[in-house]
Structure formats: C-alpha cells, structure tokens
Amino acid sequence: MSGKLLRVEALNCYFFGLRAVADLSFEVKTGEIKAVIGPNGAGKSTLFNMIAGVTRPTSGTIWLDDERIDGMPTHQRAERGIARTFQNLQIFREMTVLENVMVGRHLRGKAGVLSALLHGPTLRADERALADAAMAQLERFDLAGKAHMLAGSLSFGQMKVLELARALAGEPRLLLLDEPAAGLPQAEAEHVGEIISSLNRDGMTVLLVEHNMRMVMSLSHDILVLNNGMRIAEGTADEVRRHPDVLSAYLGESEDA
C-alpha cells in the first residue's frame, strides 16, 4: 500500500482565464480507492480529464509511477495502464457486447495487418485469446448471456457495467471512474459499489469521481475534497466529514460563518 502509483504536482488549469483547477497536488497510492468529491463546478471533471488525457493542464505535472504522462495523448496513457469509464457512457453501441470488451483488450492483442490479411494460425490464436478473456470478463459481470447482443440494446445500468468490463479487459494498473453511480437507482449503484470494492480487494487501484456520497464514504480509503478548483480537505471519510470547510462548501455557508 505504500507505493505512489499516480502523482499530481502543482496542477493548474485555466479556461479563458477562468480557473478550473488551481495549484493542486495529491497522490494515489497503489492499491487504494481514492475519491475526489466537491460541489458542482469544483473542478473534479477537469481534474479527471487532465489525468485521462482529454484536457491539457495549463501548468503542473502528472506522473504515473515515475513517468511523466501529462503531455501524452489518451491512447498512450492507456498503453501505460490507465483505464477509464465515462460519466455519460462512451460504449460502442453498434458493436456487440463481446466485441466491446474485446476492443477493450485491444492492447493485449498482437495481430497486425499482415496476420489479419492472411488469417492464419497466429491470427486465430490471437482472436481466440481475446474472445476468451473478454468472455471471462463478461461472466464476472453477469453479462455473458448478452455477449452477442448489440451493446446499444442494453439497459443504462448494464451499459455502465459493460463500460467497466471494457475498461478492465486491458488489465490496467489504475482505474479512473467518472461518476460510476450517476443515473443509477440505489440498488444498482450499490451493485456497482460492490464491484468496485471487490476489484480493489483483488489489488486494483481506483481513482473515483462521484456525487453519490453514500458510495464515496463507504468505499474510499482516502478522499480529496475540491472547491473552486482548490483542495479544501483530504483524508479518510471520517476526517473529511467533520472538516469545517467541507461542511461550509456543501451547505453553502459563507466562509466566516
């Protein structure tokens, strides 16, 4: 639990002079579930996007293990072991459930153009390995029965789980979850919560942005609270819950109240 898998140093992000994230530093330790919370507009999504490679920081650095990743495009971060899910679902709707997860395992496949064209034993072995691993992933998430359905025909909750399965298919080191419970009824949100904690028990490091307080408080080892792009508190659920700045940020009290 001691290694730092992800390190964010003095990160700033401005949009047209507006500060979205200001001088933020924190780290995610190997094997922990770290949550980022904060009111709307606190800079959570911007932070998440900078780590995932969708938004460029104005200044500051991001490190994965000891490699600087803040200048890399998304796919290179994926190559280094960062997987993510999306708040508003970015699945391949017109592909089957199984294909979605096989694409999630893209980086673990080897076959290139030539072996694809020849379609010889190399390609078939590659395809079989991808399909088997994807199927195992689907079984783990109770989606195996829907493997050959189009992903777009799944329910919203199933799509959320599918996106999680896709993210895990590449066997990442760090899992970034963007509001995994958003839009789910409580029972399904709890199911997703259970999945996340069981993944973590198997050793997965998770960075989570989430609005669902119950989920954040029960899952996270460590919580970072943002407001106006700045850190206002960091610590365990109990520490954060009692922190006066957190209370005022969430209850909307003025700072000198």
Binding site: M95, M102, G170
Partner: protein, 337 residues
Amino acid sequence: MSVMPLKTTSPALRSPAAAAPAQRLSDHARLLIVWLVLLAVPFVSPNSYVVSLANLMLINVILIASLNLLMGYGGQISLGHAAFYGLGAYVSGVLGVKLGWSPWIGLPVAALVTGLSALIIGIPALRLRGLYLSMATLGWNAILVVMFNRLIDLTGGPNGLLGVKPFAFGTFALDTDARQFPLVWLVSLLVMVAILHLLRSRIGRALRAVATNELGADAVGINSFRTKLLFFVLTAGMAGIAGSLYVHINQYASPETFSVSSSILLVVMVALGGSGTYWGPIVGALIYTAVPQLLLDYEDAELMLFGLGMLLVLILSPSGLTGVPGALIKRFSGRAS
C-alpha cells in the same frame, strides 16, 4: 465532431462479426458460393458484351467494397476514391505504354503508388476530425483530373491513354472478355476475402470502434489516427488495383472515368447497397454497372435516377438495399409475434 458515418441499424446484416454465432453458413462460405455462381457468367452469357459487363461489375465491386470499408465501417468519407482508381489506372497504364512494363508488375506498383499517395494525403487530413478528409480527397481528385488531362505526353490528355497492353501469360494475351473474366473474378474474390479478414480481426474491430465512438476508442488505447490512416492507405491501394485491372482490360483510360462525380457516385453506391454491410457493395456494384447500360439513350436521366434512388433508399431503408429483406422479415415477424 467526427463525421457520422452513413450508419445503419439493421442488426441482422450489420457486420460479419456482429452476427449471431449460430449462423448456418459462415461469410467465407457464402462468399465462395456467390463467386462460384459468378463463375458461370461466361458460360451462360449470350454474347461477350454481357461478359464485359460482368468484368466491369467485378472491378466496381473492388471499388465500392473498399470505399465501404473506409466509409461504412470506418466512418471516413472519401470524395476521391475515383482519383485513386484513376491513379492506379494511369500508373499501371503509363508504365506499360512508356516503359514497356508488364501489367503483372504494373498492378502491384499501382497499388503501392496509390497507397503511398493516400499516406501523404492522410497524414495531414486525418489528424483533424470532421470533414477534412472529404475536403482533402475532393481536392486530390480535382488535381488528378487536371493532371490526367494536361500531362499529355504521359497520359494522352483528354483523348485518353492509348496502346495499353492487356495482361498476358507469355504469348497468351488476356485480350477477350472471356479470357479476362477469370483474372477479374479472382482478384475481386481476393479483395473481398481481404476485407472480410480485416473486419474479423483486432484492427478491423479497432476501426469500427473508432468510427462508432472515438473517445471510447482512445480510452482503451487505440491510436485513432493511425487506425484511420492504415485503412485509408489500404482502401486506396485496393482502388489502385481496380484501376490497374481496368486499364489493362479496356486497354484504354480517359480522364472523365475518374472525375469527382464518379467519386460521388461511388459514395452513393456504398449507401445504396448498404453502408457498413459486408454484402452491400455487391448490390451497389450491380446497380452502378447495370443502370448506365439500361439508360444508354438517356444519359442525363442517369444522375437524376441515381439521385432519386438514393433519396428513396435513404428514406425508406436507411440501411441500404441489402437491409430491405431484413427489414421486411423484422416487420413480418414483428406482426406475427
């Protein structure tokens, strides 16, 4: 925003890999059956004119199927597919006429040169999302047509490239329609197999993933730019092969065959047949080959008819003509249940 592919939602015929596993015949087997049936054409044709149409239709299959791979599965709309076709034809033809190169060497060289030209266009154009590829390929087509017309010493200009030699095995020249047919038959089959193989592989899935959702594809580690570039180059190379076949079979090429309007018609044929469906291009090629023959006396009506047909198909069966049986079955079984 990336360009939305002219997508379809008919699951039954969508894509080979999306099909249910319990299919009775594999697509490989179906393909072989269709091509074996086609093999009968020279024997049952009343005259060599029909065989020449079959040759042309199979060349069009290569053109439309390759464009469909790029456009229907990859979501990248090229408005310059006829330019690659023409480049292949002129490269292979000019090498033969001016340097005496054998068509057997001209064909792979044509594929390489067109692929290389696609690489050069694709590197800047595919870095940007959206309509840039369409605009760049449109410009490329316009430039090439001017060059085919103006480089008269090389291309023969508007009069066309004359004196192109046919494919030949020693002294046995493939200079009749019936002799050419087996070659076109084989090459078109190989291209269809290649496309099926590409679609049924990791890189084919990556292409479809990029077309469906680029953000999602990036997130799983797919290099969208390189994936699109790869398929742009591959499909341009296929068009180059079609061009080489065309020029040595007709023993002639002229610039208007490779005009921008041909490129647009090829896009229309992809959509008519069924964009992003494996079998659609065969239907598209049939229409593209047959309709002009039926309307020989009414040339002006041809474009109008294609336009009208495109509108009707896109309104009534957005998945193209290959989607019609599936849609009917769906409607029928929907009523029955």
